[in-house]
């Protein structure tokens, strides 16, 4: 059972005590409240607390005095002073007297979380009186990367070698070969795995929003910016930033990226403070970056900064021996998620699957299997369940289809998939390869209703 740290909240305002206590409980802490310094000291005789939150202005014994009294009982107590703007000077005085930190009411949730987490960590370290233990075990198993071919074994070896280092990794491979899975495996096997892995789809970033997207912005940075926004680099602090499709970015963006990769500092748009950020970079591309450097479309300095350790992913056609294993893995995953009992593939269906060239690689194979699981009527996937565009049982072009607009075709196809899945939004979205929200908005846009079908 994980230890839940104890908080003591001391404030003479009931609403503050109640809302903080509820917040701490939701956050997984244990929290007691006291309405005065005297009550707080009484509580201390019954319970040992990790962190104390003291209101500075209270009738009778104020926060400063209470801090002194607590310190006499527990010298290393982590005390956070809560103050209104008017009494920040007093809070500074509290800091001089050994308070861990102070926080101004009403609290920004971000600040509260940071201050409390830091205080708890400090206490935990003191209690254990040991240096931070490195508990990173050697991870030699990557469950999301499936295959036994020599090509994929080599990839797994490379991941194992590079993951524990902080080296920048460049992953190369055709679309659908699993570049994001490799980035995830590197992150999960690294000492940064408890911090976020933040993906930036560089190809999808519109130039106009790029700065704000990457670096964030301060409130009022431009018209309509009512609140500050954190950028991707800031979100990746302590973790890994995955720059997907890095070969698609414009030269201007390349300059911005190079600067932040070199300086490891960012400044939010409209802000004046440079903030240090600690991230590891994993980048991926389906393009020949070296070729792009030669033609002047990719900065050479950025290329060398990214190409520290390269992992090349083989296309599926170069490792056909992995297809049955991949299929089995996708069937297990899909049937578990859909709550269906599908356990295998008929020999005819397997032959069909093995024969295809899979230009869309693993992603295409996975979509085909998931779609087949949705349609499956028995425990085994059959050739009929695999509705390939060029195979029997597949949706075929109708006479007159050529006169339809793209939107009409999309509408008809969405309607058909919804029908097949009995209007299950999650399943239909998976078959269509879009997320639920996008599907829902398309249903609304096309005016599709269940009764109409």
């Amino acid at each position: 059972m994980t230890y839940k740290p104890w908080m003591l909240i001391v404030d003479d305002e009931m609403v503050v005590r109640d809302s903080l206590q509820a917040w701490f409980r939701d956050a997984g802490y244990q929290a007691d409240v006291a309405s005065s310094g005297k009550e707080a000291l009484e509580r201390m005789s019954r319970q040992e607390y990790d962190v104390y939150l003291l209101d500075i202005k209270m009738a009778g014994m104020d926060g400063l005095e209470l801090q002194t009294r607590i310190r006499k009982i527990k010298q290393d107590a982590a005390i956070i002073i809560m103050t209104a703007y008017a009494s920040v000077d007093t809070a500074v005085q509290a800091l001089k007297q050994g308070a861990f930190d102070y926080i101004v009411k009403p609290f920004d949730p971000d600040d509260l979380e940071h201050v409390v987490r830091n205080a708890v960590e400090k206490q935990a370290l003191q209690r254990e009186n040991v240096a931070m233990k490195t508990t990173l075990k050697e991870i030699d198993h990557f469950p999301d990367i499936v295959g036994e071919s020599s090509a994929i074994r080599k990839v797994l070896e490379l991941i194992k070698v590079v993951a524990p280092t902080d080296a920048t990794v460049l992953i190369r491979g055709e679309s659908g070969t699993g570049k994001e899975l490799v980035a995830k495996a590197i992150h999960l096997a690294s000492p940064r795995r408890y911090m976020p892995l933040v993906t930036v789809n560089c190809g999808a970033l519109p130039e106009s929003l790029l700065e704000s997207e990457l670096f964030g912005h301060e409130r009022g940075a431009f018209t309509g910016a009512q609140y500050r926004r954190k950028g991707k680099f800031e979100m990746a602090d302590g973790g890994t930033i995955f720059l997907d499709e890095v070969g698609d970015v414009s030269l201007k963006t390349q300059t911005d990226l190079l600067r932040v990769l070199e300086e490891k500092q960012i400044c939010r748009v409209g802000g004046s403070r440079m903030m240090p950020v600690d991230f590891r970079v994993v980048a991926a591309t389906h393009k020949d970056l070296q070729g792009l450097v030669g033609s002047g479309e990719f900065r050479e300095d950025l290329f060398y900064r990214l190409n520290v350790f390269q992992i090349s992913l083989p296309p599926l056609r170069e490792r056909p021996e992995d297809i049955p294993l991949l299929i089995q893995s996708f069937i297990e995953k899909a049937s578990r998620q859909m709550g269906k009992v599908v356990t295998g593939v008929s020999p005819e269906a397997m032959a069909l699957l093995k024969r295809r060239p899979w230009p869309g690689n693993i992603r295409e194979l996975q979509n085909a299997v998931e779609r087949a699981v949705v349609l499956a009527q028995s425990e085994e996937l059959t050739a009929e369940d695999l509705a390939f565009g060029d195979e029997a049982g597949a949706p075929r072009a109708q006479n007159g289809d050529a006169a339809l607009s793209l939107a009409d075709v999309e509408k008809i196809h969405i309607e058909r998939v919804l029908q097949q899945s009995a209007w299950n939004i999650s399943l239909s979205a998976r078959v269509l390869g879009i997320d639920r929200a996008t599907l829902y908005n398309k249903i609304k846009r096309y005016g599709l209703t269940q009764s109409k079908v």
């Binding site: 917040w23 009403p106 609290f107 911090m195 929003l209 309509g224 995953k333 997320d435 639920r436 929200a437």
Partner: protein, 183 residues
């Protein structure tokens, strides 16, 4: 079988209400119904902060006194806070089957960006799952990508998945047999 009753405080974007009605069934296995009930917000307004007090909205929800084990999810366009925090995305009664979610800071336009209807639905789905998770007794999770991770900024909402980590899912399964695990 218990169900989730989805109501709005004042007017809330109908597409979000109906979207949640459809996906929460997939997530929880409970029937979800959007009710044509626009609860009054005015009693929760905090004049000095131009925000609404989320705990008071929760009290109004509980006052509906749902029969048996029905769950209540309230949605609002209003900006919510609790007195001690500058804002909250939502609030729930821990293990109390009632939750409220604000769409205010989930909209891209709040951050000066172009409106994005798909993104709003995705964020609303994650926050609804998060608050309903609290309402089912779950506390915050350290896994940044789990629906129960604490989000103090919308970018952290975007990092989460509309699904639970193994540990949180395990706890939920007794209440929601179809609680979604991460892909």
């Amino acid at each position: 079988m218990n169900r989730i009753r989805i109501v709005s405080f004042g007017e809330a974007e109908a597409s979000v209400l109906y979207y949640l009605g459809s996906v929460l069934y997939d997530h929880t296995g409970m029937e979800c119904g959007v009710e044509d009930l626009h609860l009054d917000l005015s009693g929760a307004y905090l004049q000095n902060r131009h925000q609404h007090h989320s705990s008071r909205l929760l009290q109004s929800l509980k006052a509906l006194d749902p029969p048996g084990g029905d769950w209540l999810l309230g949605l609002t366009e209003a900006d919510l806070c609790i007195p001690i925090l500058t804002f909250v995305f939502g609030e729930a009664l821990l293990d109390g089957r009632a939750a409220v979610v604000s769409l205010h800071r989930l909209q891209s336009s709040f951050y000066g960006l172009e409106a994005d209807a798909d993104l709003l639905l995705r964020r609303a789905e994650k926050e609804a799952l998060h608050e309903l998770g609290h309402a089912a007794g779950l506390i915050h999770c350290r896994d940044y990508s789990c629906a129960m991770a604490f989000s103090n900024a919308v970018e952290q909402v975007d990092l989460k998945e509309p699904a639970f980590c193994d540990a949180c899912r395990e706890q939920l399964l007794t209440k929601w047999p179809r609680a979604p695990g991460k892909r």
